[in-house]
Point group: C2
Chain length 431, copies 2
Amino acid sequence: MLKKIIIKGAKILTMTAYNEAGIINGDILIEGQYIKEVGKVSYQVDDVEIINGNNCLALPGLINCHTHAAMTLLRGYADDMELMTWLEEKIWPREAKLGADHVYWGSMLAILEMIKSGTTTFTDMYFFMDNVAKAVEEGGIRAVLARGMIGFNDQDNLTLNESKSFISNWHGEGKGRIKCMLGPHAPYTCPPDYLVKVMDLAQELKVGIHIHLAETKQEFDDIRKQYGKTPVKHVYDLGLLNHPVLAAHCVHLTEEDIAILQECSVGVAHNPTSNMKLASGMAPIPQLLEAGIKVGIGTDGTASNNNLNMFEELHLASLLHKVSWGDPTVLPAYQVLQMGTIFGAQTVGLIDEIGTIEVGKKADIILIDLNKPHLYPSHDIVANLVYSAQGSDVKTSIIDGQIVMKDREVLTIDEEKVIYEAQRYAQKIME
Amino acid sequence: MLKKIIIKGAKILTMTAYNEAGIINGDILIEGQYIKEVGKVSYQVDDVEIINGNNCLALPGLINCHTHAAMTLLRGYADDMELMTWLEEKIWPREAKLGADHVYWGSMLAILEMIKSGTTTFTDMYFFMDNVAKAVEEGGIRAVLARGMIGFNDQDNLTLNESKSFISNWHGEGKGRIKCMLGPHAPYTCPPDYLVKVMDLAQELKVGIHIHLAETKQEFDDIRKQYGKTPVKHVYDLGLLNHPVLAAHCVHLTEEDIAILQECSVGVAHNPTSNMKLASGMAPIPQLLEAGIKVGIGTDGTASNNNLNMFEELHLASLLHKVSWGDPTVLPAYQVLQMGTIFGAQTVGLIDEIGTIEVGKKADIILIDLNKPHLYPSHDIVANLVYSAQGSDVKTSIIDGQIVMKDREVLTIDEEKVIYEAQRYAQKIME
């Protein structure tokens, strides 16, 4: 028999309405992996687990559209540096020392942190992906995973073959919580002939493509110099955007690029903290949204953030574009929350399964403890959530119908052990 | 006999060194209001209260250099609006309904939130200031208070007289925790002849002046049109900057303005969230710091933030200027932390009392619980603090030698009652 859970007497922000009128007072019935009822639920006490939703806000779990989870091991290792110095002298030499076990423990630390700050799905691009998938399976989180692929010197198609076997092993695993994509790193690390091979493989495996695109001015200038066109136009002309594509960053875009992204229904992962911290620039997000492009939000890796706290990203997405556009009305609270939930689900291709609280969707739900000084008074619960809440206000988290955190205690992960091992493996790469 | 407290076995970030070499492992002895020893402390168990500092970071309490505490009652009431519409249609009509009790409960809610997120001193400008001072006295926090003064139609010098009596009643009260300033609101709300009266009173009472200055482009343009000079030059020519001045915002400045601020040792309160949320602009903070100007950090009121969480402000100060200057090396983590502590103390005129952990200073110390997933690994404790910590990571807070929060429980305030009353008074002004 399927396990039943009822969240009883919560405020429910379904994210299905076009505005915050979508808040209802009521219950949510979960059966197995799915949401079965929303509103007034009748139930028998003996066959369900009851979660008290009193003074809590239930909303869809947050979707982190772009990260490199295992980079938690490099959190705080190198900050406040020029991008290329940072990569070449700090990040890459240490990443070269990472083994499969490092990636497992780094990913576990990331998953622990994400669950504790309200993320229920993350989208990852890294390596030793079998171990990332293993961590996802054990941690109980949902994930869209891609092996990061660099096209230079890919002798014997090593990364292509590795991606292929990763996808055949893991796509749909974890009771469907794990989805896979191909992850060609970026136009400047994947030459055209390699990208063609990636497209062929995407076609064969019927999976989407996750790529960094137009992140820095340097990339924009280099690609233009090398190919005579912008990064977006370059991959468009290669046919890459005929596939379902998740494009991370999209900071440096022309009007034509925006039209292309719209025409090809490209999903964009906006990473406000990373773009600010690395001084990559300010992505034209209000323009992308205006054009009807699907925009989700990501944290990027912790080496350039330095956390995986989606509440900070929601907050920053709104603030950054208000000041950069000189207009306090852009990216209002509810729209930013859509980017963190329903738009994120569209962006990563999971809108049929998650992103809203609706009957028939998978039960990915977080409960916010509203009993905090900074969440009073309650004039506007959505504004309070986006502009004042902290990741630590998440009290309980349900993913795929499983309670993964209850009253701040993560039930799927041995917190003490993960912290201990992650610290140990982080020290190893510094030796 | 004076009460003794020992913080035992903590990591201590004294903020006295020019870099993070200032972290030592050891104990802190507090006697009465003062720090007596830092390092290895010998003690007898029976006459001291011991605080276990294991896996904690002790640092000077954060200093919020500019806020309007009682505006918590308006948190989330009106967001994502044009500045003047927001003020004229939303904020001012509701503020007109505030009475002394509203201000008391709004300030109590603010103080509760500030203590729970690591602030030990705040700098306030509002009205019904007797009730703000009363809340400060009861809540156990440290504050620099000013009655906000508008110079139009100030018949019979009402606000000047009120300020004078407020200062004579409260300056130095709360065992010295309360300091007062004069608070002329801004150059565009205080005509020159009124500012002259303010200066005379400041001279007479020997107090500093807290003023909003060069916050918006509109103010910059209006003042230039009216007086033929920039806001900074305007108040400089009036002689205002010959007094100790705390200038909030300073977003719109010329090179000459920066030279004036430097020449007059003006303290600047930078409010990154407020400047972003209201789209006021990006203050030239790296340039001000380069010129040797004292810059602290503030939250501004919750109506334009929407919280009083200084950890978010530290974080944002660094990120905002990295992206606005296109340079990831500006405002590195340690410098931002200086702005939140030692520079803040200089800015508000309290550097002889607070801002560092040093023998002879008042004991304003917070303990960060490092046992959090997002604070591992421990490559760089300062980077973790500025780029990854949340307000809720503050475990214990000591202000003026008194433990005001222990293990997240605020000891000086009845949390439940304050939330209840603040909610009730917030609803009243909506009627």
